[in-house]
Symmetry: C2
Subunit: 336 residues, 2 copies
């Protein structure tokens, strides 16, 4: 494919104007215009269709970005100009371009949509259940928890992108699933998804008692999305040889002063617990096959996906902050 | 073997008079006389030679004992009467009889000394490096840490029964070993044992800085004997994919109000750490072979053992409390 000269193209970006201090504020972001070079040999021009807002952007901003950088993040994009035969015009890709409407990419870090993506499955699912959050759920359960049929699993932030997939895969595997989420609407959603027990952790009188009631025999596995005080309530309820997959700790991401809680050593020792932190990219070599498994479950109706869609690229910071506040049921995404 | 009638025999015991509240006090214990039945068919009468005082007695007293019970614990004992051909008079056994000078046992829970125990190896080592603490060190390193040559290991309470074996086995395995202990005398002992770095955690200006200086690249493995604030200093210094074997948390055993510290989730996730609590009896099926390995290292001079011996059964509580205070270099034992 060879393209003639074109008019210089402008994209929009959101930059980190100032490092977050505590909960992000709208003034921490800045919307900017970016002039895009013409794609050269091997390059493509991408146009974002859907962008992802994810919790990791909050802690990673501190360690991976400097002020003025474009916010990090993934998107589903369409190739609108191409000098790369692997990605012809019109093809859809998942790309880590950051908060950008348009990007020139050399193609090396682009992932085509899963082969055989059906017409009736929204492409935005590639940012959710059939994407990074889905893989995170799968690897956390299979590689870290090594969840077995008949075991009882606890997951928090359960109505979110990762948590909702965790619970459903655990059901597919024949486990008993308890989920916690932050609104009654989310709790109803968890029941719809087939969770055995679900409750609103914000309105129960005692989190300890609610967790005990939901599984009087305790928990074999704990898929940790929240950390902090929530985890302190769970530790005494783990069963011997329990496993804890530490996926996220969203209740700590906005700390200015680190929160503290009781030490967990005594529980760890006497119940011989295993606790492991993980990042989903550890198993990137399995992603292709894993995404096919996730897609198959979606097609079979075993894995249901919900999305919380914010319209308009200009609203990305609001979508991001809303997700951190718990406004989303299912995956929080932005439609450009 | 058939024995004629004998005069009723009296043994001495130490009981838990009152549950410990904070650091144990002498008034929490009571020395008692116990009348022993004559050994019947299959039974033996044991006389304790050496008794063990171990940290676990402090937390286990609360969950496994009621007031008035004989203190739990192991001993090396000699069979002085026998109605059991497997344990003839004169044979030496390791036995979980509690704090008792004499015990009638049906033999089922007795372990003979490791086969081929050499004349010149003190039998009391069966309570230390060639016994439960040695096994704990071995399993913690091999099964939990999965320590590899070239890796850097940190161990605390390093001059103690478990810690001193941990460091030496890690050296045998070709690792770099950093040890912390609570006196200059202990630190000198660690250097003698071949630890690469050792320091007195009580006298350093900053534990964080001392740990950093001892291994600027951080730690691959952390053998945790202490827990609490010590662990909070280590977490930021773990290397990616670091492993933490949670063996003990002696700094927490005497808490009346649980101590608190910063949550560890963020370290666990972003460095993908694995932390596992364990009890040495998990691998009891390997004990026989493992004790032979430990004995072989002792015979080859690769595993040196020190003992802190308190004389007199009547001094058991003092020995126990002294060990909790850190008076022991090497294994704390009592010679009857
Ligand atoms: N390790 C990895 O590779 C990896 C990959 C992806 C995600 N993660 C982690 O997984 C977790 C979930 O991510 P996600 O993408 O699925 O987000 P999500 O759950 O869709 O959205 C975040 C949710 O977290 C909950 N939340 C926010 N603040 C909270 C607090 N203080 N206490 C308790 N819950 C709070 C809110 O739900 P409620 O209404 O229920 O409070 C909110 O909806 C995050 O911790 C994230 O960092 C890790
Ligand atoms: N999981 C298992 O199966 C298993 C089996 C055996 C032992 N353990 C655990 O392993 C650890 C070591 O046991 P051990 O038998 O080898 O005992 P030890 O180390 O011989 O004796 C205890 C030592 O702990 C240190 N200590 C006491 N209080 C402390 C505090 N507040 N902070 C820091 N250090 C303190 C003292 O040394 P310093 O002078 O260095 O402070 C003391 O000498 C204990 O936590 C024990 O519970 C676990």
């Amino acid at each position: 494919v060879c393209l003639g000269p074109r008019a210089a193209m402008q994209g929009r970006t959101w930059t980190l104007q100032r490092h977050f201090d505590g909960f992000p504020k709208i003034s921490d972001f800045e919307l900017k215009l970016e002039l895009l070079p013409e794609p050269q040999n091997g390059e493509v021009l991408l146009e974002a269709l859907f962008l992802s807002v994810d919790p990791y952007m909050r802690p990673y901003s501190r360690v991976r970005m400097k002020e003025g950088d474009v916010m990090i993040g993934g998107q589903v994009a369409r190739v609108i100009q191409s000098q790369n035969p692997s990605f012809p015009v019109g093809s859809l890709v998942v790309a880590n371009c950051g908060w950008r409407t348009h990007t020139v990419s050399d193609g090396r870090t682009l992932t085509p949509l899963v082969a055989g993506w059906p017409e009736d499955v929204p492409v935005s699912f590639a940012l959710g259940a059939i994407g990074m959050p889905g893989l995170t759920a799968l690897y956390g359960l299979e590689e870290v928890c090594q969840l077995k049929a008949g075991e009882t699993l606890l997951v928090n932030a359960a109505a979110g992108a990762v948590g909702s997939v965790v619970g459903q895969i655990a059901k597919i595997k024949g486990s008993r699933v308890v989920g916690c989420a932050g609104s009654n609407h989310k709790v109803a959603y968890l029941r719809e998804l087939g969770f055995d027990e679900a409750f609103n952790y914000k309105t129960v009188a005692s989190l300890e008692e609610a967790l005990k009631k939901a599984s009087p025999e305790g928990y074999d596995c704990y898929f940790e999305n929240v950390g902090g005080q929530f985890s302190s309530a769970v530790m005494p309820l783990m069963k011997p040889f329990g496993r804890i997959a530490v996926c996220g700790s969203i209740s700590l991401y906005n700390d200015t002063i680190p929160q503290t809680g009781p030490f967990i050593h005594t529980h760890m020792i006497f119940k011989q617990l295993r606790m492991e932190g993980f990042l989903c990219n550890r198993w990137a070599h399995k992603d292709k096959e894993s995404l096919q498994r996730l897609l198959a479950w979606v097609k079979e109706g075993k894995l249901k996906c919900s999305e919380h869609v914010t319209e308009g690229f200009e609203n990305m910071p609001m979508a991001f902050m809303g997700m951190l506040r718990g406004e989303n049921t299912g995956k929080a995404i932005v439609k450009v």
